[in-house]
């Protein structure tokens, strides 16, 4: 398992830059759009860091780079003190096992032609977890229990579940390869309020029990204020303000952060 002690940085992003080529017209010059511009942050082990921003702020591009699904134009990311880029082959595969993701929409993130058994054991096969199919199936049942689903879910397909149940399956799938770090990309944005609370409670419980570290990507400051230890506010590809929940909510410094806070439709309870 990971050597990083709780509270020490498990994932560190240093000066991340991502540019995408944009061609203007057929013979136009190749130009670049900077989606992420000099972004640095640390995610302490066992904690939740949130990246908050609106569409186009670059938060999802950051998430994709942290997931090693997109390589940065400049800068680098360290996991457990070592750069992603220095790991190759098997080591890189092992790294990807440690870093998992839960996306916003459980309708499109699960393969509709795979039943739950296949979805939960596919990753185990790739990463050589469990020796036999039977052993993997037992682990899959255990995972379902973790996310409060019954074992008879194994033979069902995604369309047979509600949105909240699907998101639990997506979470079980992320856990199936025993990660230390999970990127949560708007994990409850597509869910109803009464289902959202079930999923948020589940995520918090898993973090407590398994010592998981979360990078929480969201546009919803209310959810973020409930879930996170630290907040980074992104605008136009840059982190413009960062701090604890108290610092961001009580003493925001940047105009944009203030506007974002004022825009939350809040219920006073």
């Amino acid at each position: 398992m990971t050597q990083t002690a709780p509270g020490e940085a498990l994932v560190v992003a240093r000066n991340l830059v991502k540019r995408f080529p944009v061609r203007t017209g057929l013979l136009g010059k190749r130009e670049y759009k900077t989606a992420v511009n000099d972004v640095s942050f640390e995610v302490p082990s066992g904690k939740t860091v949130a990246i908050v921003g609106e569409s186009g702020s670059g938060k999802t591009t950051v998430a994709l780079m942290v997931l090693d699904l997109l390589s940065p134009t400049h800068g680098h990311i360290l996991y457990d003190g070592e750069r992603y880029a220095v790991r190759t082959g098997k080591e890189r595969l092992a790294l990807r096992r440690k870093i998992q993701v839960v996306f916003q929409d459980p309708y499109s993130s699960l393969n509709g032609r795979m039943n739950v058994r296949e979805a939960l054991t596919e990753g185990m096969v790739i990463h050589n977890i469990g020796n036999t199919a039977k052993e993997r199936e037992e682990m899959a049942v255990e995972l379902l229990k973790q996310v409060s689903l019954r074992a008879d879910a194994l033979d069902k397909y995604p369309h047979e579940f509600s949105g909240g149940q699907r998101q639990r399956i997506a979470i079980a799938r992320a856990l199936s390869v025993q990660p230390s770090f999970i990127v949560l990309d708007e994990p409850t944005s597509a869910l109803d309020v009464s289902v959202q609370s079930q999923v948020l409670n589940l995520l918090q419980r898993l973090q407590r029990e398994m010592g998981l570290t979360y990078l929480f990507i969201s546009h919803n400051l209310e959810v973020v204020s409930y879930m996170s230890d630290y907040i980074c506010v992104m605008e136009n590809g840059m982190i413009i303000e960062r701090g604890t929940v108290e610092e961001i909510f009580d003493t925001p410094k940047m105009e944009y952060t203030k506007r974002l806070l004022a825009a939350i439709p809040r219920v006073e309870v």
Binding site: S194, V195, I264, R266, V267, V269
Partner: protein, 337 residues
């Protein structure tokens, strides 16, 4: 007493599906008072959007149909009108805006053309007058350069701008009632705040009546005067916004508010309502919320509750507020034994 502009009585909108009749809206009654914003709040599958579509008589046919009920407006039951009569009302007396402006706008026509068309169809404004009015409407919805925008196509506009255009179009024939179905769900938070402020201002300025459909209690607290909470095709509670949010009476409303993630609840588990909404093809015989309700008796699973009046006069569909002698101090198990 406020004057009801629109009265909905025992509305039932059903769908015939392969798995039986889905009673999406099943006995909904409410009044829409002149000059107010009423929010219908509910989760997916509660029937809130179908309620709005029923008022416009735009329920997807042939699967969907209005089974029974009355929609009284201006002394008439809208359900008695012919298709042609209803058509002349739609867009003129009752206008509607939807969640996704891109799919509501015609992608191959300019913004100006589309707003003028809305006016010319009803014949209220034509030609130069319609042209002038288009500009002033766009100005009214906070578009800075109307002369430029009328020449543009929807794809050239941002999501917030498109929704402003939709609002301008909805207002073009001075509707008495604006139905807004999740008008800001597809927008960013800061843009959402702008559009909500815009709707609230327009409503005040024009004395318009608004029915807002939303799943977000935060939006409700920001713009609505009154709220109706829907669950399982029925309204379970109606009250003024402040009272509803600070003192919810129906166990479902109480659960909804308690399950909101907030900063104050950090470190605690959120309240959860286990289980899911039952399917509209097979509503339970008793209370539709009973299976998830923390305060249910055995009675609740047997008998569907009427709408009772809670202490402050608000209608609540729950046996807890029944005036008949029920021993409410006893738990369901005790009552059963």
């Amino acid at each position: 007493m406020p004057t009801p502009l629109l009265e909905v009585q025992e509305l039932r909108t059903w769908f015939s599906t392969s798995s039986g009749i889905a009673k999406a809206v099943d006995g909904v009654s409410f009044n829409l008072n002149a000059g107010e914003t009423l929010a219908i709040v509910g989760e997916s599958g509660s029937g809130k959007s179908i309620t709005a579509l029923s008022l416009m008589q735009l329920v997807p046919e042939p699967a969907g149909y209005i089974e029974s009920g009355r929609i009284l407006y201006g002394g008439k039951d809208l359900l008695d009108l012919t298709w042609e009569q209803m058509r002349s009302l739609r867009g003129k007396d009752l206008a509607m805006i939807f969640q996704e402006p891109m799919t509501s706008l015609n992608p191959v026509m300019t913004v100006g053309w589309q707003i003028r068309e809305a006016m010319e169809v009803h014949g209220k404004y034509r030609g130069d007058e319609a042209r002038q009015r288009t500009l002033s409407l766009l100005d009214k919805v906070g578009i800075r350069d109307p002369k430029q925008i009328v020449k543009q196509y929807p794809y050239e506009l941002s999501g917030g701008m498109r929704q402003r255009v939709m609002i301008a179009m909805a207002l073009s024939n001075d509707p008495k009632i604006l139905l807004a179905d999740e008008p800001t769900t597809a927008l960013d938070v800061t843009v959402q705040a702008q559009i909500l402020d815009l709707l609230a201002n327009l409503q005040k300025q024009l004395g318009m009546t608004m029915l807002l459909i939303t799943h977000d209690l935060g939006i409700v607290s920001r713009v609505a005067h009154r709220v109706a909470v829907m669950y399982g095709g029925q309204i379970v509670e109606q009250a003024e916004t402040k009272q509803l949010l600070s003192n919810p009476q129906h166990p479902y409303t109480q659960g909804l508010i308690a399950s909101l993630p907030t900063r104050a609840r950090r470190g605690e588990d959120l309240y959860t309502m286990e289980g899911v909404v039952p399917a509209p093809t097979a509503w339970p015989v008793g209370c539709r919320f009973a299976a998830r309700c923390p305060r249910k008796w055995e009675l609740c699973e047997r008998v569907i509750p009427d709408v009772y009046t809670a202490e402050d006069g608000r209608p609540v569909r729950c046996h807890l507020y029944s005036p008949t002698e029920l021993d409410k101090t006893k738990s369901p198990a005790e009552v059963a034994s």
